[in-house]
C-alpha cells in the first residue's frame, strides 16, 4: 500500500450564479486545464484514473458519466463516477492511490445548478415516495423542522445563526472566487422573508455554478511533481438514518462518525487544538453551528456563542469558513465539498491572497449532501512533511 497521498494540483472555473458563456463540458475543461498546469502533468500520459462526482437529476441526463471523459482528457482511461459529495470523490481517489495499483488520480466535481428550472422538485424527488413525498411540500420543511428542534434543545439562538450569515458573506468579500459576498447585518437576516420558520431566506446558501478539479498523487510522485504538496492526513465519511422519522434532529450521528473516522485516520486525538481552521458545510446557517458541535470542535450549545464572540471569525482563534462557506461562496450542490477543500488547499499553500490566514499547517474540509440526506464526508489536509 502507498503510504501517503497528496494533492499536487488544483484548478477551478467560476463561481457565479449563472455561467451562460460556457457549457458544462467547457467549464470542466477550463478547470481541468488549470489543475493539470498547476500539477505539471499531461492527462493523456500521466494520469492513471479519473473520479468524477455527479447526480443524474442535477445534470438532466441519465448515466451522466457518458459525458465526462473527453473534456478532462480521460478517454480510454479508467474513469468512475461517484454520485455523492465531492469529498466522497476525494476519498475514492485517496483509496485508489493507497492500494498501490494507481499513482496519479484526478477528481472532478461541478455545478450547473443554474440550468435546473425547478430545484425544489428535484430535491423532492429524492424523498421517500410512500410516506413523505405525497405531502407535496417544499423540502425546505426538513430544514425548518431540524433548525427549530436544534435551537430548542441546544439553546443556540436565531441571532447566532444570523451571525453565521453575516460572518460568512463578509468573509466572501475578500474571496475573488466567491459568488455571493455581502455586507449585511443580523437584523437583515432575521427580517428576511420566512421560508420554513424559523429558517429565513438569507439563511439559505444561494446557489452558484462552477467546477473544481484536483490532482492527487502518491507520496513519491507528489514530491517529484511539486514542492508544495498538501497531504491528505485523514479521511472520513458516513451515512445516518435516511428516514425522517427515525433520525436524530439535533446531535447528528453521521457527522460525529464522519469526524471520528477522519480524526482516527489522521492520528488526531485533540482536533480542536490541532486543526488551525475548518471549511464546513453551511447550506443553511444553523448547519455551521450544528456541524461544529457534531464534529466535537466545541461543546453542544457552544457554537452559537463562539460565533457571536468572533472565535470562529478569520481573526478569531478557530476560523470557520474563511472562504465564505456556501453562504458566501455559493451552494454548488454535490461539488460544495470540493470548494471547501479548494479553500483549505489555497490556505495551506499560502495562496489565499488578502484572506490568507497566518501560519496555518492543518485544516479540514467537511461536506454534507444537503436535503433530504444524512450523508457527510470529511478530509483533513496538512502542509508539513
Amino acid at each position: 500500500m502507498n503510504e501517503r497521498v497528496a494533492i499536487v494540483g488544483i484548478g477551478w472555473y467560476g463561481f457565479r450564479s449563472i455561467t451562460p458563456e460556457l457549457s458544462y463540458k467547457e467549464i470542466m475543461y477550463e478547470a481541468a486545464v488549470r489543475a493539470y498546469a498547476d500539477a505539471g502533468i499531461d492527462p493523456r500520459t500521466d494520469v492513471d484514473s479519473f473520479v468524477t462526482v455527479a447526480e443524474d437529476f442535477d445534470e438532466g441526463t441519465s448515466i451522466f458519466d457518458e459525458y465526462v471523459p473527453d473534456q478532462i482528457g480521460a478517454i480510454l482511461r479508467p474513469v468512475e463516477t461517484i454520485p455523492g459529495e465531492g469529498l466522497h470523490g476525494l476519498a475514492t481517489a485517496y483509496m485508489q492511490i493507497k492500494t498501490g495499483l494507481l499513482d496519479i488520480v484526478v477528481v472532478e466535481g461541478h455545478s450547473k445548478v443554474s440550468n435546473i428550472l425547478h430545484p425544489s422538485h428535484i430535491t423532492a424527488y429524492a424523498m421517500d415516495p410512500i410516506y413523505n413525498r405525497p405531502l407535496a411540500a417544499n423540502p425546505y420543511f426538513i430544514a425548518g423542522l431540524e433548525m427549530q428542534r436544534y435551537l430548542y434543545e441546544t439553546g443556540n439562538t436565531h441571532e447566532q445563526c444570523a451571525q453565521v450569515v453575516v460572518k460568512n458573506r463578509g468573509n466572501a468579500l475578500l474571496n475573488p472566487l466567491a459568488a455571493h459576498p455581502a455586507e449585511i447585518t443580523v437584523e437583515d437576516v432575521l427580517n428576511s422573508a420566512p421560508v420554513a420558520e424559523p429558517l429565513t431566506r438569507l439563511e439559505i446558501a444561494p446557489e452558484a455554478d462552477g467546477c473544481v478539479v484536483m490532482v492527487l498523487a502518491s507520496e513519491q510522485t507528489a514530491r517529484a511533481l511539486t514542492d508544495k504538496p498538501v497531504w491528505l492526513l485523514g479521511v472520513g465519511w458516513a451515512n445516518g438514518s435516511f428516514n425522517l422519522e427515525n433520525r436524530s434532529w439535533v446531535d447528528l450521528d453521521y457527522v460525529r462518525i464522519t469526524g471520528e473516522m477522519a480524526y482516527r485516520t489522521a492520528g488526531m486525538r485533540y482536533p480542536r487544538g490541532t486543526l488551525d481552521f475548518i471549511e464546513l458545510d453551511d447550506t443553511f446557517a444553523y448547519k455551521e453551528l450544528q456541524h461544529l458541535e457534531a464534529l466535537g470542535l466545541c461543546r453542544p450549545g457552544e457554537a452559537g456563542y463562539l460565533t457571536l464572540e468572533g472565535v470562529t471569525s478569520v481573526e478569531g482563534d478557530f476560523p470557520v469558513n474563511p472562504s465564505g462557506g456556501s453562504l458566501g461562496f455559493g451552494n454548488l450542490l454535490d461539488a460544495s465539498g470540493l470548494a471547501r477543500a479548494l479553500e483549505v488547499v489555497l490556505q495551506l499553500r499560502e495562496e489565499a491572497g488578502t484572506r490568507q490566514l497566518p501560519d496555518v499547517h492543518i485544516g479540514a474540509a467537511f461536506g454534507w449532501r444537503g436535503l433530504p440526506t444524512t450523508s457527510a464526508a470529511m478530509v483533513i489536509l496538512g502542509n508539513e512533511d
Partner: protein, 173 residues
C-alpha cells in the same frame, strides 16, 4: 447457488395486479425541466444550423475536423480552432430500422435513424439523424445521402432544422 439456499426472495407481479388493486401503489411525475447552457461549440453549431450551415472545428494538433464540434480534441486534449463549413452530403456508416418509439409504442411507418459520415472532413466525423424518402430495402451501409432542410423562416437553431437525410439523387458516379 450454494445448494443449501433453497428459496430466493422477490415477489413477481403482473401488470393486472396493479389495475385489479391487488397491490397498493403511489404515482409521481417529477418536474425535471432544464435549460442547458449550449456554450461556445454547440452554441455556434446551433446558430449555424439556423443559417442552413453544418459547422465543424479543427484540432490544430491531429488536424481532424470535428463534427459535432467541441472546444477540446478528445485524443490530443488540445483546444480546437478554425471553424469550417461542412458539406451537406455524406455516407451512411450505421443505421437501424425501428418499429418502436422512445417509449415503446408500435410504429407503422418505421423510423430510420442513421449515423451519417459527412463528406470532405475526417473519416468517421458526423452525427446521428433520421433518413426519409427512402425504402427500407434500399438503406445500406455506404448509402450516399444529402440533408433536407426546414425552410429558412421555420428554423429555430436546432438539430431538427435538418428535417432528415435522403438518398443523394444527382450523384453520377
Amino acid at each position: 447457488m450454494t445448494e443449501h439456499i433453497t428459496e430466493y426472495p422477490g415477489t413477481p407481479l403482473k401488470e393486472r395486479d396493479f389495475t385489479e388493486g391487488k397491490v397498493l401503489y403511489n404515482w409521481w411525475v417529477p418536474k425535471a425541466d432544464y435549460a442547458w447552457d449550449a456554450g461556445v461549440a454547440i452554441g455556434k453549431f446551433l446558430a449555424g444550423l439556423k443559417e442552413g450551415k453544418i459547422l465543424g472545428i479543427t484540432c490544430p494538433q491531429c488536424g481532424r475536423i470535428l463534427v459535432p464540434p467541441r472546444m477540446v480534441c478528445s485524443d490530443c486534449f488540445v483546444p480546437t480552432d478554425h471553424w469550417v463549413e461542412v458539406r451537406h452530403t455524406g455516407t451512411v456508416r450505421m443505421f437501424s430500422i425501428t418499429y418502436v418509439t422512445w417509449d415503446m409504442q408500435r410504429l407503422e411507418k418505421p423510423l430510420i435513424p442513421a449515423v451519417i459520415e459527412l463528406d470532405g472532413i475526417t473519416p468517421g466525423m458526423g452525427f446521428m439523424h433520421l433518413l426519409d424518402e427512402v425504402d427500407r430495402d434500399d438503406v445500406h451501409i455506404g448509402l450516399r445521402v444529402e440533408a433536407v432542410w426546414r425552410p429558412a423562416e421555420e428554423r429555430t437553431a436546432a438539430i431538427t432544422d435538418i428535417l432528415y437525410f435522403r438518398p443523394l439523387k444527382e450523384e453520377t458516379s
